[in-house]
């Protein structure tokens, strides 16, 4: 085989390989396997769009939901929004944040309001849409929604610096699977 033919085959093969690699790089990559499924099973904490808060630690979030904090840093009064019993979102919040059952939850707020240890009485809405609209209308409101129920009328805040679509997000709609 002549030398120039061998060189042609080598360079031609290299060119074809490079083109294939570049084409493969240009194609859309598939989403990470845990991304959409995981975010759908998480619970987003939402506030009014005028609220400057971007992130809360799990401890701060618990304090707010327990009614132990009355105002946001900007001076707005905190209004806690809960969804009616029976919804998995409420069950997840009771489990993850309050670590209480329904009975303990009711007792906590009745007792706390009576003794003055709790400053905020939660508002109860029938549907996720109601929750979203309430938060839209009240600047100091905070509540929770599935990520699929969230739209631009409310703002999702980070918990422990994580958004709901991230793997390390601490609030899950369903209890985490056993390791």
């Amino acid at each position: 085989m002549p030398r120039w033919v061998a060189l042609l085959i080598v360079f031609g093969g290299a060119g074809i390989l490079a083109a294939a690699i570049s084409l493969a790089a240009g194609l859309p990559r598939p989403a990470p396997p845990e991304s959409s499924a995981a975010s759908d099973q998480n619970l987003a904490i939402v506030v009014n769009v005028s609220n400057p808060t971007e992130n809360l630690s799990m401890g701060e979030l618990r304090k707010i939901f327990l009614g132990e904090r009355s105002h946001w840093p900007n001076g707005r009064r905190i209004t806690l929004v809960m969804i009616e019993p029976g919804h998995p979102e409420r069950a997840a919040v009771l489990n993850s944040i309050y670590q209480m059952n329904e009975k303990d939850f009711s007792y906590h707020f009745l007792h706390g309001l009576f003794t003055g240890e709790v400053f905020v009485s939660p508002k109860t809405l029938a549907t996720p849409v109601g929750v979203r609209k309430f938060i839209f209308n009240v600047p100091g409101a905070i509540g929770y929604l599935r990520p699929s129920d969230v739209d631009s009328s409310v703002k999702v805040i980070r918990i422990d610096e994580h958004f709901p679509n991230e793997k390390a997000y601490p609030l899950h709609l369903l209890p985490p699977l056993a390791k």
């Binding site: 209004t79 009485s121 508002k123 109601g130 209308n137 009240v138 600047p139 100091g140």
Partner: protein, 493 residues
């Protein structure tokens, strides 16, 4: 008769068919023209009136639509503003957070309607006043909405007292300003509607005045037209009656003269006053001549009546012009000779045959020659010329036979009437030149019936040229008639 002499004006007359005058229809044409003018005026008036009425109606419709739309818009704005406030109060009336959210939604939907309405108003605002009040409303409504949002938030938070305090402090005041702005807009609409109404009323009055004016003018014009038409008809009737009277008088006179001569001759013979063979012969000649005069006159009248009958057939044949002219000159030779006239004849060589009825063409030429004798005054000269003419009026070549005299001529004002039946000019009547007024009318009718025409050019005290225009015969189509042998005879060319 000198066939070589020239007749300079005859050719010129032949090329002036424009001088051919219309016959006796002036009244009819003027009536038609007047009616046409009235029709045009009525059409124009109708268009003006329709246009005016239409523009007024359109203006009124625009005014109505503008007013209704304006009132509708302002009504919508007022309702939406009230609904915004009303829904906020509904939220105040319940502790159920779900209901409060629903009322908050209603309030926001209503305020969106107000914002959209204000934006539309600003977009369509034309006057500075509209722009100013629109901008003020926009500003006041935004201020009210910020208070409304706080009130709604307080209600949803459960702070009823705070919500009421906020509304009483700022909400009521700001909403009153919004209401005042809306009333200002309403007032502006009312003012504009009043202005438009006044404009439409003025336009309507203007239209009415115009309609009445143009109708009045049309009516006056129509009355004048009808009067003119009636007057024209009446004058025509009077003229016809006068012409008929003159005709009867003229014919009676023409008949009475030969009858008197015949009667006197007969009386003399009967009374034995005429003696000798030679004298009786002279009397007989006189009676025969006068009888022939009467026969000619009666024939002319009958021929005139016959030309008015459209069914009268003509025997159209090719005729040689020279034969025709010679024949007519032969027939009138005695008259011409007795009157002492000289006839100059010039016939162009190689002249094509004409097509016509021999007796009708002869009658035409004879009438023209007899007229030339009658109206020559002191002149004793007649010219006859035949030539080929390329006429624009007749669209093609024609053979023209011109008969010219140097007589009394015809005034230009009478040129158009000489072909009217029974017409005789005042000058001719005054000079007691006898005639029926039928000769020229008859000649023109005959010429036109054969596809030809008869025209005239004349100048008073200079003379007249009558030109007979005749169609050229198509060769080899029909045998040429022998003029000398009579109407039905033919000879080979």
């Amino acid at each position: 008769m000198n066939r070589q002499s020239k007749i300079p004006t005859a050719g010129a007359a032949g090329h002036r068919p424009g001088s051919v005058a219309g016959s006796g229809g002036f009244s009819r044409y003027s009536s038609a023209l007047l009616l046409f003018l009235v029709f045009c005026v009525v059409i124009v008036v109708g268009i003006v009136v329709i246009h005016d009425v239409r523009s007024t109606v359109v203006e009124a419709q625009e005014m109505y639509a503008g007013s209704v739309l304006g009132l509708h818009r302002i009504g919508d704005l007022q309702y939406a503003a009230q609904e915004t406030r009303r829904s906020t109060f509904y939220a105040l009336s319940t502790n159920d957070s779900n209901l409060q959210v629903k009322y908050a939604d209603q309030s926001r939907e209503a305020d969106h309607l107000v914002i959209a309405g204000v934006s539309e108003y600003l977009r369509e605002a034309k006057t500075p006043g509209e722009l100013e009040v629109g901008k003020r409303l926009h500003h006041d409504w935004s201020a009210y909405l910020s208070v409304r949002d706080e009130v709604l938030a307080s209600i949803l938070e459960g702070s009823t007292k705070e919500a009421v305090d906020l509304d009483l402090k700022d909400g009521v005041r700001l909403f009153d300003r919004v209401r005042e702005d809306l009333e200002d807009i309403d007032r502006l609409y009312d003012d504009q509607a009043s202005q438009r109404l006044a404009h439409v009323a003025a336009s309507s009055r203007r239209t009415m005045i115009r309609v009445v004016g143009v109708l009045g003018i049309t009516m006056v014009f129509a009355i004048v037209s009808v009067w003119a038409i009636q007057r024209s008809k009446m004058q025509s009737a009077i003229q016809l009656a006068r012409l008929q009277t003159e005709f009867v008088a003229s014919v009676s006179h023409e008949l009475r003269t030969p009858l008197t001569v015949i009667s006197s001759a007969a009386d003399n013979i009967a009374d034995g006053l005429v003696e000798g063979k030679e004298e009786i012969k002279n009397y007989g000649s006189a009676i025969r001549y006068q009888s022939l005069q009467m026969i000619d006159l009666v024939n002319e009248i009958l021929l005139f009546a016959a030309t008015k009958d459209a069914k009268n057939p003509y025997n159209l044949r090719p005729l040689r012009v020279s034969d025709l002219v010679d024949s007519v000159l032969d027939r009138t030779s005695e008259l011409v000779k007795r009157a002492g006239f000289t006839v100059e004849v010039q016939i162009d060589p190689d002249l094509p045959c004409i097509v016509g009825d021999m007796s009708a063409v002869s009658q035409c030429l004879q009438n023209l020659l007899v007229n030339a004798v009658k109206y020559s005054g002191r002149s004793r000269w007649i010219g006859v010329r035949a030539f080929l003419s390329d006429s624009e009026v007749h669209k093609g070549k024609r053979v023209c036979i011109a008969v010219q005299d140097r007589g009394i001529g015809i005034h230009s004002s009478e040129l158009s009437r000489v072909f009217e039946p029974f017409y005789r000019s005042a000058a001719v009547t005054a000079e007691q030149i006898h005639g029926t007024g039928l000769g020229l009318s008859l000649s023109r009718s005959l010429a036109q019936a054969m596809g030809g025409d008869l025209s005239v050019a004349s100048e008073p005290e200079v003379g007249s040229v009558f030109v007979l225009h005749l169609q050229i015969a198509e060769e080899h189509k029909l045998p040429i008639a022998d003029v000398a042998s009579g109407p039905d005879a033919t000879v080979k060319k």
